[in-house]
Amino acid sequence: MSGTPLLSLAIWVPILAGLVVLATGSDRNAPLARALSLIGAVAGLLVTIPLYTGFDLHTPAMQFVELRPWIPRFNVNYHLGVDGISMLFVILNSFITVTVVLAGWQVIDSKVAQYHAGFLIMSGLLNGIFSALDGVLFYVFFEASLIPLYLIIGIWGGPNRVYAAFKFFLFTLFGSLLFLIALLYLFISSGGSFSILDWHRMPIGMTAQTWLFLAFLVAFAVKVPMWPVHTWLPDAHVEAPTGGSIVLAAIALKLGAYGFLRFSLPIAPDASHELAGLVIALSLIAIIYIGFVALVQEDMKKLVAYSSIAHMGFVTLGFFIFSPLGVEGALVQMISHGFVSGAMFFSIGVMYDRAHSRLIADYGGVVNTMPKFAAFFMLFAMANAGLPATSGFVGEFMVILAAVEHNFWVAFAAASTMIVGAAYTLWMYKRVVFGSVANHHVAELSDINGREFLVFVLFAIGALGMGLYPQPFTEVMHSSVDELLRHVALSKIQ
């Protein structure tokens, strides 16, 4: 392993690039701002690649660790590191940032520098969340990442953007404030350590574990989002600009799920087993009920937003089955959902940029005017529905397989919704793309240009590559997931 602080670079390269972009100032320099942000995003992606190539598959320990004192008064450290669980998300996030910069290239024409800077800074903060091994550092990144997204939704969003931005911010903050108390409690009861790894090893009584678990659950359930605290997500998605929706769906939702793996399961394993039924029930409600809700949506973005909630239900379900297959399936599902939902939101954005509507009823027969687009959209719709050979299939299949081992009826309930999932996605696709040209707006649509084509190809490589050959993704997870489950199986009550 080299001595370069790769994780620090992954965090600070995008943030510094964002500040540089911000400094280009007014919209007269917009081309410069765009070019700089693309350079920044690509540089951010490049520095994360050695994380994969230099990754040691055979150890569950944290890798690329950096440890420096930050606030010695409270024993807070600048402690970074990734394992097989978090490493892929750092890369995914940096990858998504590139697509977001490309997606907003021409579409955003006011306050260009601020827009791109917001995404770059957020990318760095999100990388910080995935690689933080110190409770305070994690929390600081976790909350700070709200600010850019709040501004992005509020400034470049749709007509109801203010409501959506507030709802998003306050919902998430509500969850994370209880999380902060939990962190402080752990700090005090561990005798003054904020290290997440110390907390993993620390024995905790059952009552305390239950409370901690519930505090974590509130924080992460809001972020995932799980039913019934999911209501902010459709609003935020509908109002956010395309780039905001992509980041929100592809990365921000993963934070909650990641939090379960990093905090809830290893810190409160007994409570996790005890309350697994609750989480599984909530996940099933999300999968089934939200699936049906998605079926009746008239707004495409809302439909994909609800389908995201349903897909994330598979993720939380997979975690709380406590089998390697379930957890790995959930992780695959998370990454796959990153590609697929990002691409879905981008597709809707492409149509919205041309016809300025997200309503399914306003379209019809798009295939006639945008054949290339229709082909890509088809691919991602199929992936969203979980068709074999796409990435969407792999994760869901693994989770369902694990669920069968756990409890047949849980698996049955989850599997039955694959039909609903296929129904709402394909029905939407049919109404939008097929048929004869519905109105003159559709007739005037122009097919995708080179930039959009490039973004689609990037997403397609991710979605198809993972569907056809998931091995490179799953092999890095094995040892970390096994270790995690071994750890969770041990009681911490003494």
Partner: protein
């Protein structure tokens, strides 16, 4: 040192004439000179002087240095505002500010109940006059009246409480009171009776519920330059006063006053944060926010001693001190921003005046945004670490429920800070006039904003400074 400050002050008063610039420069030089003296004479040891009425210790030195810094910054911010308002007697602002500063210095270093009172009155009388300085303004005069009447009442309460304590212990020296309490030579009934009055008086000066009535009116009615003064520097002195009276003097009966302060603190956070939501005037909103912040700061004071165990005292009090200092820093920036936008003799203290600020000046909108997020306690800004350190003290003391109440009300508070950000960034500007302000003010404002961000990323220095100074002083 006190003598020197007095002499310079009187000299400054005599030299006062129509040349405002001269007064301004003289005032600033006075402050810098005093700062140098304080710094040079700071030995780190606790020393008593003036027959034990006055104490110099590290906490006092640190607070005083920050006090001078705050006043210097305030005067820079206020200068343009004063210059544009001929009706405000210009030179007097500076000399009153200096008198108030002197009062605060006395408060910070008082080791005798009478000294505390003298310092407090010197501060309060200067502030009453400052609030009323805009003679033609009806709201300002009304605010001054309200402030004066209620302030006098509070002083009366405080004095009454002090006399009771004298009655109970037979001494006015804070150190001696502590010793007699420790030895058990006191009359518990009278002492607690006096304590109630003392706490009520302190609560009034801090502006915590239910003794907060004057804060919104005075913040709103006073000229913004004066509001800036009231909202910042006196908080440092009030913190020192609480430390001197309650912690240095009455730590033995901490159980009694902690109970009272917990109630005051929870009420302040509740009423302050909820009432702030309904405000349309930024100054009034910040007044309610000040109430809630003082409530939050008190959390650090009440968690010092748990069940007679003072293990956490240093941790708790230094977190409260850190909280006050960061609040003063942020508050100075926020009111400074109102002054920055108030040009051409017009006020700009309505929330709507900030509409679309991002379009008019992205940089200052960014600075204001940092202030707001810092006040809301969102990282990476210093306000987060202030809340963090206080909450950590609360949890360490075992008051989990109190911590949950505190974060719940911070969430409520977040709403109105976010609204300011929303107004600046999401709304269209009403007028596109660029911001015209003196260069020195712009630079200072930017520095203030950067300080909020940098201290948020590297809070260690200030935190340890607080802890160290208290360690040497307590």
């Amino acid at each position: 040192m006190l003598l020197m400050a007095c002499l310079i002050l009187v000299g400054d008063l005599l030299a006062k004439d129509q040349k405002r610039t001269l007064t301004f420069v003289a005032t600033q030089l006075t402050l810098i000179g005093t700062a140098v003296i304080t710094f040079a004479s700071s030995s780190g040891d606790t020393a008593y002087t003036f027959s034990n009425m006055y104490v110099g210790d590290l906490m006092a030195d640190l607070l005083k240095l920050l006090l001078y810094l705050t006043v210097i910054v305030i005067l820079f911010y206020s200068r343009g505002y004063i210059l544009e308002r001929p009706q405000m007697a210009r030179g007097e602002y500076y000399s009153l500010a200096l008198f108030a500063t002197l009062g605060m210095m006395v408060m910070i270093s008082a080791s005798h109940l009478v000294t505390v009172y003298i310092g407090l009155e010197l501060l309060s009388l200067s502030l009453y006059a400052m609030v009323a300085m805009n003679r033609d303004s009806v709201p300002a005069t009304e605010a001054a009246m309200k402030y004066f009447v209620l302030g006098a009442l509070a002083s009366g309460l405080l004095l009454y409480g002090m006399s009771m304590i004298y009655g109970a212990t037979g001494t006015l020296e804070i150190q001696a009171i502590a010793e007699r309490l420790y030895l058990g030579q006191f009359d518990k009934g009278i002492l607690v009776f006096g304590l109630v009055f003392l706490v009520a008086g302190l609560a009034f000066k801090l502006g915590v519920v239910p003794f907060h009535m004057w804060i919104p009116d005075v913040y709103h009615g006073a000229p913004t330059a004066v509001t800036l003064f009231i909202a910042t520097a006196p908080k440092l002195a009030a913190f020192a006063m609480v430390m001197r009276l309650l912690v240095n003097g009455l730590i033995v009966v901490s159980h009694d006053w902690q109970q009272m302060l917990i109630i005051l603190s929870v009420l302040s956070m509740a009423i302050g944060n909820i009432a702030a939501i309904a405000q349309t005037n930024l100054k009034r909103m910040l007044a309610y926010s000040a109430i809630s912040h003082m409530g939050f700061m008190l959390l650090g004071i009440v968690t010092g001693v748990v069940g007679g165990d003072a293990r956490f005292a240093l941790n708790a009090y230094s977190s409260a001190m850190f909280y006050v200092i960061t609040y003063v820093l942020t508050s100075a920036g926020t009111f400074g921003m109102i002054l920055l936008l108030a040009r051409g003799g017009l006020e700009s203290d309505e929330l709507d005046d900030f509409k679309g600020l991002n379009k008019r000046s992205p940089w200052f909108a960014g600075v204001m945004m940092m202030m707001m997020f810092s006040m809301a306690g969102i990282p990476f800004f210093v306000g987060f670490f202030a809340k963090f350190s206080v909450l950590q003290a609360v949890v360490a003391a075992g008051y989990l429920w109190l911590a949950i109440v505190a974060v719940a009300f911070s969430l409520v508070g977040c709403f109105y800070y976010l609204r300011v950000v929303k107004i600046m960034y999401f709304d269209q500007p009403a007028n596109m006039s660029p911001i015209e302000a003196p260069l020195d003010m712009k630079i200072l404002m930017s520095a203030n904003g950067l300080a909020v961000a940098l201290l948020g990323i590297f809070p260690q220095v200030l935190m340890s400074l607080c802890a160290f100074s208290l360690l040497r002083s307590l």
